[in-house]
């Protein structure tokens, strides 16, 4: 579909050629995660909040380590405590950590490769970045001690997004993982992290930044900046403005490094070794958000590798046969209860009470019909899906939480083939 849009003939033809040469373009929806991950070095898991992104990313990483024999890193943002424990991440933070083979053995598998895990600590990553870019020890210490910096590194809008991509770049360029699976932070807008490197570069090259770092005395005589300063002084107060200026003067010394780095991060994301996996449930609101995200990826010429539909209700809820059985159980509950009573009473006389059996039959039938409404709604959502990538995987609703390698493998197997 994307290739046949009008007005982009030249590019589309080129793309088609490239794909043919690579010889690895399965028809929409027919590819496997197995094949996708075997061909990529970076997988970015993204999508709306609350859909199981972190778990899905971890499951994909576990599978790649077990099945491909690769050295895999899962870089996770905010895992549930039990999952963090299972990955050996409790209290470890930014440092990459190997998940011990014993953990795999306990889950009944023998990994051919290695699984490493790390958690993203925004503050720690920012500090590391400053240490990396600061021109000298004094600037470094001044920045780290600056009250604005301390606020920004912890709370800077989108600082999470930027730092996640920055960490990814750093790890990718400095280590030897075959595959890095990144979980993206929950953001207001799922797209924020894609723009973060560019925004950071824009920020540092902006004219306003230059205004802010003009020495105080020349501000008041400079015709261009005078009105800005008069009003800014009045709103923010001179002292705060001075704090801001000082901070940016310090930051300015790292300008080149930052911009260059931001551009490299952007290039890495659009590199052909990188793919994006969009995770969603089949609920209307998250799915619309996921679809929008998938469209945006394509528009930005980033590689949409897969859509994973998570927590999908089981197929047996959609059968027409089930509904008629449930209706019959409801309508004939009294009659059925009487006929079933002797069989139940054989197990335990107390269970033979017909009113009680009738109540159970009615509850069971109602519950089926209730869940069927939701399951049919999911089916409708699924068939209206406008974007179909190479891999379209469905993960059933697990009735229990996934918090260890056994659970991750169980999920992973669902998305693998």
């Amino acid at each position: 579909m994307a290739g046949s849009r009008p007005g982009r003939g030249g590019r589309s033809a080129q793309d088609a050629g490239a794909i043919r040469i690579a010889g690895s373009a399965p028809a929409a929806g027919s590819g496997s995660m197995d094949g996708l991950l075997a061909n990529k070095e970076i997988v970015v898991a993204c999508g709306p909040g609350g859909v199981g992104k972190t778990t899905t990313a971890a499951a994909a990483a576990v599978m790649a380590a077990v099945r491909h024999g690769s050295k895999v890193l899962v870089l996770t943002v905010d895992p549930a405590k039990r999952l963090a424990n299972a990955l050996g991440l409790d209290g470890i933070g930014n440092t990459e950590h190997r998940v011990p083979d014993e953990a795999f053995r306990a889950a009944g598998v023998k990994p051919r490769g290695q699984l490493w895990a790390a958690m993203l600590d925004t503050k720690e990553s920012w500090d590391a970045l400053i240490r990396h870019h600061a021109p000298d020890a004094q600037t470094r210490e001044e920045i780290l001690a600056n009250p604005l910096y301390q606020n920004i590194s912890g709370r800077f809008i989108q600082s999470h997004d930027y730092i996640a991509m920055e960490r990814l770049y750093e790890i990718h360029s400095e280590s030897d993982y075959d595959l890095i699976v990144v979980d993206t932070p929950p953001t207001r807008n799922a797209l924020d992290f894609l723009d973060a490197p560019q925004r950071m570069a824009d920020f540092f090259s902006s004219r306003l930044l230059r205004w802010l770092i003009v020495p105080y005395r020349s501000r008041l005589v400079n015709v261009a900046t005078k009105p800005f300063y008069q009003i800014a002084d009045r709103i923010l107060g001179t002292e705060f403005l001075a704090d801001i200026s000082e901070f940016f003067i310090l930051f300015q010394s790292m300008y080149d490094g930052f911009v260059e780095r931001s551009e490299s991060v952007g290039r890495l994301l659009s590199d052909r070794r990188t793919t994006f996996v969009v995770v969603s449930t089949l609920e209307a609101v998250p799915l619309r958000e996921a679809e929008f995200f998938a469209e945006q990826l394509t528009a930005r010429r980033l590689h949409l590798g897969a859509i994973v539909l998570n927590k999908v209700l089981p197929d047996y809820l959609r059968g027409a046969g089930g509904a008629s059985v449930a209706e019959a159980m409801k309508e004939r509950a009294g009659d059925l209860a009487e006929r079933l009573s002797p069989t139940l009473a054989k197990v335990d006389p107390a269970l033979g009470d017909t009113d009680q059996i009738a109540r159970v039959l009615t509850e069971v039938a109602d519950s089926y019909l209730n869940f069927q409404v939701v399951a049919l709604r999911e089916l409708e959502e699924r068939s209206s899906l406008s974007v179909v990538p190479e891999v379209l995987a469905t993960v059933p609703f697990f009735d229990t939480d996934i918090f260890d390698l056994t659970g991750l493998l169980r999920l992973g197997e669902q998305i693998w083939d």
Binding site: L148, F240, Y316, V325
Partner: protein
């Protein structure tokens, strides 16, 4: 403690995907049905609130979407313009254009400035008594603390200037438990519960706002009492299942499987609920909203949720 709907300003937050906007929309609707004049303000500009009322997209300028119920979307730049016009009487209005751009830039860099414009606008509506209740579809739990703590943070960072002079009255409104409250929405699942517990802790340590209620959304119905569950277990296997299949003339297996799924799901979820109750249930009222087995979302669903919320609040 002041009854939830008698507060003046309620921030509704929660982890992504738990139904934060649903609950905020339902709460605002419920209050308006009680005869209050209500403003609902969407801070995450995703355009969801309009959908919950089946109204046209909301903008910064509030619009009456249902009788007594007004909706708006936060826009920090528009908020700045309004603020400058109303509060500071900045002489040359023509300069506000580039200034807003400059401000946007500073706001991106200087933490708290964007937040203060949001909180400031909301507190302003409360101070001017334009509404009986302002309901905020606030940022997700990861961001709400920064938002609520902004006036205090500004007070610490900015020693003088007009912004500084504005934060004191905002803090008065935010710190008064009879005026302002935070509602945390969660579902009975592992991560949302954990996040809610952490949020409760951070809110009390880092902000002056009171956590007024925790809303547990999508609670599954309890299907069976204890002995009924035994009946169900026996029915689901062996001779009893064979007899049932025979009687209904088809395979009843899937129907029983669905009930088993519902029972297990509820059981898994109840362990998380217990954890939530043990952690904050004593200090904070907990409200329970049922899982909705409906086909659509929109005004009809919002009304249903509002009715459930009304029952929980004793209306």
């Amino acid at each position: 403690m002041t009854a939830l709907l008698d507060l003046k300003l309620v921030f509704v937050t929660g982890k992504g995907g738990v139904g934060k906007t649903t609950v905020a929309s339902a709460m605002a609707l419920l209050a308006s049905l009680q005869g209050k004049r209500v403003l609902i303000c969407e801070v995450d500009a995703k355009g969801d609130v309009a959908g919950f009322y089946e109204a046209p997209p909301t903008v910064f300028k509030e619009r009456e979407v249902l009788p007594g119920l007004f909706a708006m979307t936060m826009d920090t730049e528009a908020s700045l313009r309004e603020y400058l016009k109303l509060q500071l009487r900045i002489p040359v209005v023509g300069r506000i254009g580039p200034l807003a751009k400059a401000f946007d830039f500073v706001a991106t860099a200087a933490p708290g400035v964007r937040e203060i414009l949001t909180v400031g606008k909301l507190c302003y509506e409360v101070r001017e008594r334009n509404y009986d209740l302002v309901v905020v579809d606030a940022p997700a739990s990861g961001h709400i603390v920064g938002q609520l703590a902004a006036p205090q943070a500004i007070n610490n960072l900015v020693k003088v200037g007009l912004i500084r002079s504005q934060t004191d009255w905002m803090l008065d409104i935010l710190s008064d438990p009879a005026s302002t409250g935070l509602v945390a929405v969660c579902t009975p699942e592992e991560m949302p519960v954990t996040e809610t517990i952490e949020l409760a802790d951070r809110v009390s340590k880092e902000t002056t706002v009171t956590l007024s209620a925790v809303v547990v959304n999508r609670v599954l119905p309890e299907l069976f009492g204890r002995q009924e569950e035994e009946v169900f277990d026996v029915l689901g296997s062996g001779e009893a299942l064979g007899r049932l299949n025979e009687l209904v003339g088809a395979d009843a297996g899937p129907v029983l499987d669905a009930a088993r799924l519902a029972v297990t799901m509820r059981r898994t979820r109840s362990t998380h609920l217990d954890r939530l109750r043990a952690s904050i249930g004593g200090a904070t009222p907990m409200l329970y909203l049922p899982f909705l087995f409906t086909r659509s979302h929109g005004l009809r669903t919002t009304r249903q949720v509002a009715a459930s919320l009304g029952e929980e609040l004793g209306y």
